[in-house]
């Protein structure tokens, strides 16, 4: 039964999370791991996030122009406004987090899963290292610190992409676009997006870690659990997105 499996995994996940915050390592050790994770999880994603954001921003602005362009009652500056809103509210925080769930999530699940099957996790435990806290806590910290930076970057690049595409293809002028960007701006939308991002970052760091930890067996199981990790992280992000939007915007 799917529902029992979900409940069982939720229970396992909760127990797992209590281990993360027990018996932390020396701060010096933590800091070193933290910077390595910032590199592995964050910096390495800058390229793909930039690429996605720029082109999706471009497409969104062209679609807006297509929808509004023929209507003489809608000012052209609204192309920019609508692009800005969809990127800040939804595209940057949610879609980019889904992309990160795929890229970072599979990396986390397979790297921890491999450590599990090659007994590297056991080697940590035998030495007296709390392996869960050692492996997962720096990932949580790095994701929660760095993903908001990625998301803000994505917002800028998405809006920039929209400008390049709409001005470049002549659907509106640069001053229309800039006027649109400046109108009716609600700073809370950015805060809302960043709050969502923090929740998503936590999910992306912890759910794949949990799946990585559950691996026993060999390479096949590592692959399987990495797929499951991405699927369940994405589902969690979509559900969290709905819940948080209800709570924050309604």
């Amino acid at each position: 039964m799917l529902i029992f499996r979900i409940l069982k995994n939720l229970g396992g996940y909760s127990l797992f999370m209590t281990q993360v915050f027990r018996k932390p390592e020396k701060f010096r050790v933590f800091l070193k791991l933290f910077f390595r994770e910032v590199d592995d999880l964050g910096m390495s994603s800058v390229g793909i996030v930039s690429f996605f954001s720029f082109f999706i921003g471009a497409v969104v602005s062209l679609q807006m122009a297509y929808n509004m362009g023929d209507n003489p009652f809608i000012p052209l500056s609204y192309i920019a406004l609508a692009t800005r809103e969809s990127i800040i509210l939804e595209f940057a925080p949610t879609m980019i987090s889904i992309v990160l769930a795929g890229k970072v999530g599979s990396y986390i699940a397979s790297s921890i899963g491999t450590m599990k099957v090659t007994e590297q996790v056991d080697a940590l435990e035998v030495m007296g290292v709390n392996s869960i806290s050692y492996l997962v806590a720096p990932k949580i910290a790095a994701a929660m610190m760095f993903f908001p930076i990625l998301i803000v970057m994505s917002m800028f690049l998405g809006i920039l992409g929209g400008w390049v595409a709409s001005v470049g293809s002549g659907v509106c002028t640069s001053s229309d676009y800039i006027l649109g960007l400046q109108s009716y701006f609600k700073p809370f939308y950015v805060i809302y997006a960043l709050i969502k991002t923090e929740f998503f970052a936590f999910a992306i760091a912890t759910i794949p870690s949990f799946y990585g930890y559950k691996v026993s067996g060999g390479a096949l199981e590592v692959g399987r659990s990495s797929t499951l990790a991405v699927v369940w992280t994405s589902i969690t992000i979509i559900l969290l997105n709905y819940i948080l939007t209800q709570l924050l915007l309604v």
Partner: protein
């Protein structure tokens, strides 16, 4: 000294260990032998605390493991060195970082002090120029030696090795076996080695425990192994043609 009393361990319906009693001696290489799947790894993992036995007691020195408080447990962790069946080196770290890892986690030594100790144990296992290599760049035998170096870097009192020479050619296997025996005598530690390699038994079997179907079937030294009439032992060791010949010559 490590002593176990009536260790039981099951996974679901699969009862792997059915009450093992035995004692491992200090300054000796204690070998656990048995067929593949007989539960050697499970037994070793129970001893080091990676599996919790369903019942039974383990003694380190004369203290019951189940009575250890947090401080004693932490000390015990530093007193235990373990070499895993697949070496279990951290593949994101170089050889030097692997060996230094326990020192950096559990001591307050400076980088220079740690490096001195690391180089000392690396040269002890005859690996002098591999500090900056990653585990994936090493051969299986070299990986095993790094794993041994990492296991002894904290000067443990107890050294556990899970098939330290499986997958190695006979020459390298003997080098590793002798290394383990030398370390055992030199540091006067309790060494416990899982193996199904009869060569190892003949090389370094100070004290041998034979596990079969979850029980300790037989115990003795390698010399006693040449003369015993225990049918299970005969069946196990006579599967090796070489050992059969050796035993026959020995007894004549």
């Amino acid at each position: 000294m490590v002593k176990v009393e009536k260790i039981h361990k099951s996974f679901g319906n699969n009862e792997v260990l059915k009450g093992i009693d035995t004692e491992f001696h200090k300054g000796k290489t204690n070998l656990i032998i048995g067929q593949s799947g007989s539960g050697k790894t499970v037994f070793l993992k129970c001893l080091v605390g990676l599996h919790t036995p369903d019942s039974g007691e383990i003694f380190f020195g004369d203290k019951k493991y189940s009575n250890f408080n947090i401080k004693e447990e932490r000390q015990l962790r530093m007193d235990i060195g373990m070499v895993f069946q697949g070496s279990a080196l951290y593949d994101s770290m170089t050889v030097e970082e692997n060996v230094m890892f326990p020192l950096s986690m559990f001591t307050e030594q400076t980088k220079e002090e740690m490096l001195v100790r690391v180089n000392e144990v690396l040269s002890r296992v005859n690996l002098d120029n591999a500090n900056d290599k990653f585990p994936s760049e090493l051969s299986g035998g070299m990986q095993k030696r790094v794993a041994i170096a990492r296991a002894i870097v904290m000067k443990p009192k107890y050294l556990f090795c899970d098939e330290p020479n499986s997958g190695l050619d006979p020459n390298t296997a003997i080098v590793i076996d002798n290394l383990l025996q030398e370390i055992t005598v030199e540091y006067d530690i309790t060494t416990i080695i899982n193996t199904h390699d009869m060569n190892s038994v003949m090389e370094i079997g100070d004290n041998i425990i034979f596990i079969k179907e979850g029980f300790k079937e037989w115990e003795g030294s390698k010399d006693e192994m040449f003369t015993t009439d225990n049918p299970a032992i005969l069946e196990f060791v006579y599967s090796s043609e070489l050992f059969k010949k050796v035993r026959e010559t020995y007894n004549n």
